[in-house]
């Protein structure tokens, strides 16, 4: 009867487009780093240390964004840094997505003691400051890319578990789940074939937003000296190195900071755009 016209829906298209463009740019930059970077990001040139960017008075096109304390080319470091930051962020977000989704879906679908154990553990973990836990573990086992992914991935599972748990409980009550049971389907089949597909839109959104979180956390850990060890080019390390020279060479920290802000903003915009786009309430219903 009354078909509802879903109001102006340009907002999320712009968000998705702009967000995706930024994210795509960052990913391309990471992949094509050896082609894009004008210099070796680790080559020191003590004669050219602390050069300002090209538009400053003493700037030169040789180092478009200037150099750091050891004369390393900042643009190259920024480009290479995106590799580790994005890889760590995406991998950690995916790891926690897998962990959290599986546990959350199990808790929501099976209920009973399994639900009690998983969800109480998630609550306890949520109450514990994430970054503090990450600091403790990295301080103990040392910083390497793999350790960072593991630590950040494991410490982020509860967000997914909570969301997936609640959604699974709602989906479990829908009649088509009972229909599948009546056809003789196993729990694993139902979870994979009937429950999970209903959760994908939300999972996509949460996961996207979590990538931004993870990049920020990697940066924070590196900044605190707990991430990848210093010569490695990551945005967090660049931020940390720039901190000491903030008054004499502000550009070192500025560009890393800007890169982080831009990428995180782009990812968040993409995530929010996706959420609006996938929100079933915004879609036409019959």
């Amino acid at each position: 009867m009354a078909t509802r016209r879903s109001g102006p829906r340009f907002g999320h298209r712009i968000k998705i487009g702009l967000g995706a463009a930024i994210v795509l740019g960052a990913v391309l930059m990471a992949i094509l780093a050896p082609l894009l970077a004008p210099h070796d990001p680790y080559r020191q040139d003590l004669l050219a240390r602390l050069q300002p960017p090209v538009w400053a008075e003493q700037g030169a096109w040789k180092h478009p964004l200037g150099t750091d304390n050891y004369g390393r080319d900042l643009l190259s470091r920024l480009i290479y840094g995106s590799r580790l930051s994005i890889m760590v962020g995406v991998s950690a977000a995916l790891l926690s997505a897998v962990l959290g989704s599986v546990l959350g879906m199990l808790a929501g679908y099976k209920g009973g003691w399994l639900q009690q154990v998983i969800m109480r553990f998630a609550d306890a973990h949520l109450a514990f400051p994430e970054i503090l836990l990450a600091i403790l573990i990295v301080a103990a086992v040392g910083g390497s890319a793999l350790n960072l992914i593991l630590v950040l991935g494991v410490s982020g599972w509860m967000v997914y578990a909570r969301v997936m748990y609640n959604l699974t409980r709602a989906v479990r009550e829908r009649p088509f789940i009972e229909a599948a049971v009546s056809h003789g389907a196993s729990d694993a089949y139902i979870l994979a074939r009937h429950v999970f597909p209903q959760l994908v839109p939300v999972l996509t959104v949460v996961c996207t937003l979590q990538v931004a979180q993870m990049i920020l956390q990697e940066t924070a850990l590196s900044f605190l000296g707990l991430g990848l060890p210093p010569p490695t080019a990551t945005w967090g390390n660049m931020l940390a190195e720039g901190r000491d020279r903030l008054w004499v060479a502000p550009w070192i920290a500025n560009f890393a900071g800007l890169a982080i802000i831009l990428v995180v903003w782009g990812i968040n915009m993409l995530g929010n755009g996706l959420r609006e786009h996938l929100d079933p309430k915004a879609k036409e219903r019959r």
Binding site: R174, P175, F176, E178, A179, A180, V181, S182, H183, G184, A185, S186, Y189, H194, P197, Q198, R286
Partner: protein
């Protein structure tokens, strides 16, 4: 007499609900099904009627073992399935299928119709000889839909068409028993008749046995061979259709029939409305469960729980005073037959 396909004895299902106050650890139980004996014969349509909350849906789901009984036996083709688990249970479930009330919710919105109707075969690991796609098309055609519909999603169909998809899916595994839980209640009147006719055609073609659960006594009258009446978790009357409608023996059945809105204006107002609401299944009254609303209740009914007893050929009733009250015919149609035809 036809072979018995399902034989239920002393079946109970109690659902635990949180009860008492915040600090109480007392558990209450909804006695959804509370001592049911029932046999379903191969090839028949057994109508199961009752008002909401009487336990008729739960009874249907117990037979399919979608819920686990608290007590009692369910023999399906001679094997007790009441306590089966795991793979053995899943194998039994495939011999009995369900048609659901909600044609909107019971079809996964993210699956194409071709996948929906053949899903039971995939789950069972029984690929059809002709291939999934061709089989899906023939299933759709058997329920009166077009083969081209296979590519679409459920939301592109009307309620009646969706119910046909649900029926095609239920028939994919060629089940022996089909439990239909209010299959036409959500449909418009003109569509209802189409779906009922389809179910009858399919029954004849595939030699199906139906347990037809409904609150609509008119629909049950049309489709059922025998009818069981449920009240608060118990079967209070069971009879061949003709006997149940012409000579109802239980006061509850009599009230139900009397409460049906008139078939024509000429019969209006000739009915006695049953007073009150059904009691809560959390605390069914002692004695006969119906005594709180029964116009014939006496002191004995408050104390004694009447068993389901024979009261004529194939007719049984759970009422202490059934013989005194006797069958009461309810005027359901205008003398001289139906108008407009």
């Amino acid at each position: 007499m036809a072979e018995t396909l399902v034989d239920i004895a002393g079946l109970e299902k109690h659902f635990a609900v949180a009860g008492g106050g915040w600090f109480s650890r007392r558990k209450l139980a909804v006695r959804a099904v509370d001592g049911v004996d029932l046999a379903i014969r191969r090839g028949e349509t057994l109508g199961l009627v009752g008002e909401s909350g009487c336990g008729k849906s739960t009874l249907g789901r117990l037979i399919l073992r979608l819920v686990r009984p608290s007590a009692g036996a369910i023999r399906f083709g001679g094997v007790d399935i009441a306590t089966l688990e795991g793979a053995a249970l899943r194998a039994v479930r495939r011999r009995a299928q369900m048609i659901f009330q909600d044609p909107y919710g019971s079809l996964n919105p993210r699956m194409r119709v071709a996948d929906l109707v053949t899903e039971p075969l995939r789950i069972a690991g029984r690929p059809p000889a002709a291939g999934y796609r061709a089989h899906a098309e023939s299933l759709l055609q058997s329920v009166g839909l077009d083969a081209q519909h296979a590519e679409r999603y459920a939301h592109e169909f009307s309620g009646g068409q969706r119910q046909r998809i649900g029926i095609a899916r239920a028939l994919a595994l060629e089940p022996e028993l089909v439990v239909a839980d209010e299959p036409v209640s959500a449909l418009d009147v003109s569509i209802r008749a189409q779906v009922i006719n389809l179910m009858q055609d399919l029954q004849a073609r595939h030699r199906l046995t139906y347990l037809f659960i409904s609150h609509d006594l008119g629909v049950v009258h049309h489709i059922a061979d025998r009818v069981a009446v449920m009240y608060l978790g118990r079967i209070v009357e069971l009879a061949p259709k003709r006997a149940l409608y012409a000579t109802p023996r239980h006061p509850y059945t009599q009230s139900l029939l009397a409460a049906i809105p008139a078939a024509t204006p000429a019969l209006r107002g000739r009915r006695v409305a049953l007073g009150g609401d059904p009691p809560s299944p959390l605390a069914p009254p002692p004695g006969c469960r119906f005594h709180t609303r029964c116009p014939h209740a006496i002191e004995r009914c408050r104390r004694e729980d009447p068993p389901l007893q024979a009261a004529g050929e194939g007719h049984s009733v759970a009422c202490l005073r059934a013989d005194e009250i006797g069958p009461i015919a309810i005027p359901l149609i205008q003398p001289g037959g139906r108008a407009g035809r």
